[in-house]
């Protein structure tokens, strides 16, 4: 009777257990498939909201849907957990009942068997199998050794001593062949059409059309492809006056890379989604985080992926992609692109120009000089930079020199290449870690200085000779923001480090320090009186440039990756969502305008004549009136 009871309990527990298992597995599979953070419907609605941020009902709908999805997800989790508890309890009941049932069974005595003979054969058999087991172990060891051995110990020892065993994997150095007058694979796409005839001038187009002109890059079929021009003879670089450089936008953050532009009547108000004050918008073929540079009526960008590196020239008046130069077959360039993270990519450094040539650098270490029609003047590989995110320092020119900050874990240096030939004019080794900041070239009163920011040094170099002028050990971490200079003071910072104001003079000294608001990506701007800092988490701060006193801070919903640009007393700062905040360079916060583009922006704008060029995620825009 008692046995039957325990048997019944066991059967009941088993059935219950099976049911609960089934339901729990179904729930578990549901959870595995569900991803409340990336729901397709919600993502679609969010995209729609991004296009129309004022739609309150859509916003509410997204919130409700999001709450529903999350509730469902957590309810499923709760069910799985409860199911597991029930399963465990029923399993315990089942096992205990079964143990009791089984434990009460009594065995029957067995008849005599021939054990005696079995004993010896068992011993013999066991010996054989133990030997086989040993053999299997040794064979496994040999096989594993054969498959996985890679002389690690020797390689480590050599690497520890810095011997060539390791260095053979390091990229080539300065001895790379310089390719001059190499003809790029240039696709001419619009140069054949005289611009004024295709579109009315900008002033006229404002009158005629309210909508921006959207230009799609034309795909030229094989038979239509325009034959590249024959290699041109290298045109000697003309000495460009400082004023001409200032009139253009020759590098990242403008002339010298100091975040100042010298234009007049820049637009304040525009609206990307409706097309208000958007002169044109052109799709960019390949992705890149580099910012536009401008020379007269030409706008230059680069784009790259694992397989392709390209330089683009756009017509500033019309937005038409004038030419695309494919950068490949450069001696020393790696067969496989180095690994980079998606937030840096293969084309993070911004180009620069001296008005004669344009210069570009990619994550592979390929540097190229092209003339204004897209023909390669020279190209070389500097050695693949060992950089875990990807190379991102932008280029600068100074007279006949192309200045490159090349701080990587295999080698850290700053160098100058001849803009005409690409040959190294000087190279100065630096004892710093990998840096993602860009060089800044400023006249500090007594001379031109090239100032670099890296861990652990903020250092200055003579751009003529590469001689180090001064250095201060005050920085740390993965340095992203470039320095800014104003009125004898250099400002440098990095997140998790500090904001340092360095007073130049006979000796560079720290004027003041602060660590409350630090940037990891956007670079600051400064005037004689004020320093403005934007952070990637959305806080904008104004300090007294000389004392470090904080005047104001302003918080925005979206963070900033774009660096600030100062024009007159206006500062332009674009948030990640593409809204340009324009505020006064003053010790009292005063926002003049907030103009949306309708597309994410991570780059820094370039200032043109009465217009602004913005590289958004997929398009290049010209904003103006």
């Amino acid at each position: 009777m008692k046995m039957d009871l325990w048997k019944g309990i066991a059967i009941l527990a088993a059935v219950f257990m099976l049911l609960v298992s089934l339901l729990t597995i179904v729930n578990y599979l549901q959870i595995q498939r569900a991803d409340p953070i990336h729901t397709e419907t919600i993502n679609l609605l969010v995209d729609r909201l991004n296009q129309n941020p004022q739609d309150v009902s859509l916003r509410d709908q997204i919130r409700e849907l999001d709450l529903l999805v999350r509730k469902a997800y957590f309810t499923n989790q709760w069910q799985v957990r409860t199911g597991a508890y029930l399963l465990l309890i029923s399993l315990a009941v089942f096992i205990i009942a079964m143990q009791i049932v089984e434990g009460r069974k009594k065995p029957q005595p067995e008849l005599e068997t021939e054990e005696t003979e079995g004993f010896l054969s068992i011993q013999k058999n066991t010996r054989r199998w133990v030997a086989v087991g040993g053999g299997v172990l040794v064979t496994t060891a040999l096989l594993l050794t054969y498959l996985t051995h890679s002389e690690l110990e020797n390689r480590f020892e050599l690497a520890a001593q810095g011997k060539p065993e390791v260095e053979k994997q390091l990229p080539a150095k300065d001895s790379v062949v310089v390719v001059q007058n190499k003809q790029a694979d240039v696709s001419k796409q619009a140069e054949v059409v005289p611009v004024p005839e295709v579109l009315p001038n900008v002033e006229e187009s404002k009158e005629v059309e309210k909508k921006p002109v959207e230009v799609q890059p034309k795909q030229i079929a094989e038979n239509e492809k325009i034959e590249p021009e024959s290699p041109k003879k290298t045109e000697p670089s003309k000495t460009i006056s400082e004023q001409t450089l200032k009139n253009n936008f020759p590098s990242f953050r403008g002339y010298g890379g100091n975040g100042v532009s010298f234009k007049e009547n820049l637009p304040l108000h525009w609206d990307g989604p409706s097309g208000e004050n958007v002169l044109w918008k052109t799709e960019i073929p390949l992705h890149g985080y580099n910012s536009p540079i401008v020379w007269e009526d030409k706008v230059f960008l680069t784009g790259a992926n694992d397989e392709r590196q390209e330089v683009y020239c756009f017509n500033g008046n019309t937005g038409v992609l004038v030419w695309t130069a494919v950068i490949d077959n450069i001696p020393g360039s790696p067969a496989v692109s180095p690994e980079v993270t998606p937030d840096t990519g293969h084309a993070a450094p911004t180009m620069c120009t001296d008005g004669t040539h344009v210069y570009a650098i990619f994550s592979t270490g390929d540097v190229v000089a092209l003339d204004m029609s897209g023909s390669i003047v020279w190209a070389r590989n500097l050695g693949v930079p060992r950089n875990h995110y990807g190379h991102s320092s932008s280029l600068l020119t100074y007279e006949d020199k192309l200045l490159i900050q090349y701080d990587h874990s295999n080698e850290a240096k700053v160098m100058a290449l001849n803009t005409q030939t690409g040959e190294t004019l000087w190279s100065t080794a630096r004892k710093v870690k990998v840096s993602w900041a860009s060089p800044v070239l400023v006249n500090t009163g007594s001379q031109m200085e090239l100032i670099l920011n890296a861990d652990p040094l903020v250092a200055s170099y003579n751009p003529e000779t590469g001689e180090e002028l001064w250095q201060l050990k005050c920085m740390m971490g993965e340095v992203g923001p470039s320095v800014v200079y104003a009125d004898g003071v250099v400002f440098a910072m990095n997140e998790y480090a500090s904001l340092v104001a360095i007073q130049l003079g006979e000796q560079a000294t720290i004027l003041w320090e602060d660590d409350e608001f630090l940037s990891d990506v956007p670079s600051p701007v400064a005037t004689d009186q004020y320093l403005f800092v934007a952070t990637s988490y959305g806080v904008l701060v104004c300090y007294d440039a000389k004392t470090g006193e904080k005047y104001w801070e302003q918080e925005y919903d979206d963070g900033f990756y774009s660096s600030m640009m100062m024009n007159g007393d206006h500062i332009y700062l674009i948030d990640k969502r593409g809204i340009t905040h324009i505020f006064k360079a003053s010790n009292v916060f005063e926002e003049i305008a907030a103009s949306p583009l309708g597309e994410a922006v991570y780059t820094t704008p370039a200032m043109g004549d009465k217009s602004i060029y913005i590289r958004a995620e997929k398009h290049l825009y010209r904003i103006g009136m």
């Binding site: 465990l88 067995e110 133990v130 040993g134 980079v340 874990s409 993965e478």
Partner: protein, 428 residues
């Protein structure tokens, strides 16, 4: 003291233990706010966030006390009471206390790694509790056999519970697979001595079940062991448990090991198939001796082959040193950096980020990694040599003839579960 009074005392002790456990559940309730709450403009009330307070220090003493008490009770149940029912309920208690309540940690099986680490790295401060968990079961085993395995070890207890339809394995399977724990023990010691990893804990199949959470693989491994355990009793204890190797050795010389029969064996054979672990040695009549010449030849052969086996094992172990060393995090990091594999799926591994922010130079990292590989080379020789020696000894023992009159538990392999006693009709 009458049997009735003894039973009552045991009942009160059990009840006391249970109450102590239940009370201790409430002890961690006091907790503290860790971070200030963020402020929300829309009036959302943030639910309170608490970080559980650490477990009270004295609870560690309680754990040791419960271990000693459990071992004493189980030993008494095995040797004096000869009660299968008692051992069964003691197993349930261990599953509850050392398993679900203590979440399988500290466990004696894993403690051998802490002890090894402490022996090789003076900087490691081993907690006294861990030493106690390592030493106390060994002491009990030296005196009373493997009563710890019988019902105190939570890993063994849970497997014992699910052994519902156990099948006997052939002796050669038992012996051959039974050598694997030696290899596992060697690996665990090697990895702990080089401060590489606690592999026993990492691959503990039941920890996920006791904690009721874990990776999918971990839970599947635990479920697979339990499922296998229904038909092959205690597969982990017999073919994997590294601590079991030490207990096996200690139990062989135990002073008072359990016996199947309380007095004289009547050769009724009722117990013959009662042991699900194949730990009952059957009688071997005197006339089964091998021929003397054969025995001499075997003895000469084995005396020669043992040193050879040690050398082969050592050599094989030394060859494996690089593969074994790749488990070490420093070696792995150095290899990644040497091979310039600095991102995985576009993301920089935390180890590389941490290394970069540490300020350590690449050269010193490579030198450190080379040193660790050298340690593995030496360790590989020692580990392989010992495994070779154990194989040799096992082979030697398999050539030795032992006359046996009665059914007896194999003192090394017997887990003192008392199933066989339940089948013995002989009374004291």
């Amino acid at each position: 003291m009458s049997r009735h009074v003894k039973q009552r005392i045991v009942s009160w002790m059990a009840l006391g233990c249970l109450l102590a456990v239940l009370c201790s559940f409430g002890m961690d309730a006091s907790a503290q706010q860790r971070f200030p709450k963020p402020e929300f403009e829309n009036g959302h009330t943030q639910p309170p966030t608490f970080t559980p307070a650490p477990r009270a220090d004295f609870m560690e003493v309680v754990d040791v006390f419960v271990l000693i008490l459990s071992l004493s009770v189980v030993t008494w149940l095995v040797l004096n009471k000869r009660s299968r029912k008692g051992v069964f309920w003691a197993s349930i208690f261990s599953i509850f206390y050392f398993g679900f309540y203590r979440e399988g940690c500290v466990c004696s099986v894993g403690s051998l790694q802490n002890v090894t680490l402490a022996l090789f790295h003076t900087g490691y401060q081993i907690p006294y509790t861990v030493i106690a968990f390592f030493v106390i079961p060994l002491i009990y085993t030296l005196f009373f056999g493997r009563t710890f395995c019988a019902a105190v070890c939570p890993l063994g207890a849970i497997q014992d519970l699910v052994a519902l339809k156990p099948y006997s394995l052939k002796s050669w399977v038992e012996k051959t697979l039974g050598l694997f724990p030696v290899v596992y023990l060697g690996l665990a010691i090697l990895y702990a001595a080089t401060a590489t990893d606690f592999v026993i804990c990492r691959y503990d199949p039941f920890i996920g079940i006791y904690r009721m959470e874990g990776s999918f693989n971990m839970l599947v491994l635990g479920a697979a062991f339990l499922l296998a355990g229904v038909f092959i009793a205690r597969p982990y204890c017999r073919f994997f448990c590294p601590y079991g190797v030490l207990l096996n050795l200690a139990s062989r010389v135990s002073r008072r090991h359990m016996t199947i029969t309380p007095s004289t064996c009547i050769q009724c054979k009722l117990c013959e198939h009662s042991c699900p672990y194949g730990a009952i040695e059957k009688p071997v009549p005197a006339h089964t001796k091998e021929k003397r010449s054969g025995l001499v030849n075997n003895a000469i052969f084995l005396s020669l082959i043992i040193p050879v086996l040690i050398l082969i094992g050592g050599y094989a172990g030394s060859l494996l040193h690089e593969s074994l060393a790749k488990v070490n995090p420093t070696v792995r990091l150095a290899e990644q950096l040497l091979n310039e594999v600095e991102t995985v799926d576009g993301i920089i591994p935390l180890e590389i980020e941490a290394f970069r922010s540490s300020g350590q130079s690449l050269e010193s990292l490579y030198a450190e990694a080379a040193g660790i590989i050298q340690q593995f080379y030496i360790g590989g020789w020692i580990l392989g040599g010992i495994v070779g020696l154990i194989f040799g000894i096992t082979l030697a023992r398999l050539t030795i003839y032992r006359y046996r009159k009665d059914y007896e538990p194999n003192k090394g392999r017997c887990l003192s579960c008392t199933r066989c006693m339940d089948f013995c009709p002989v009374e004291e």
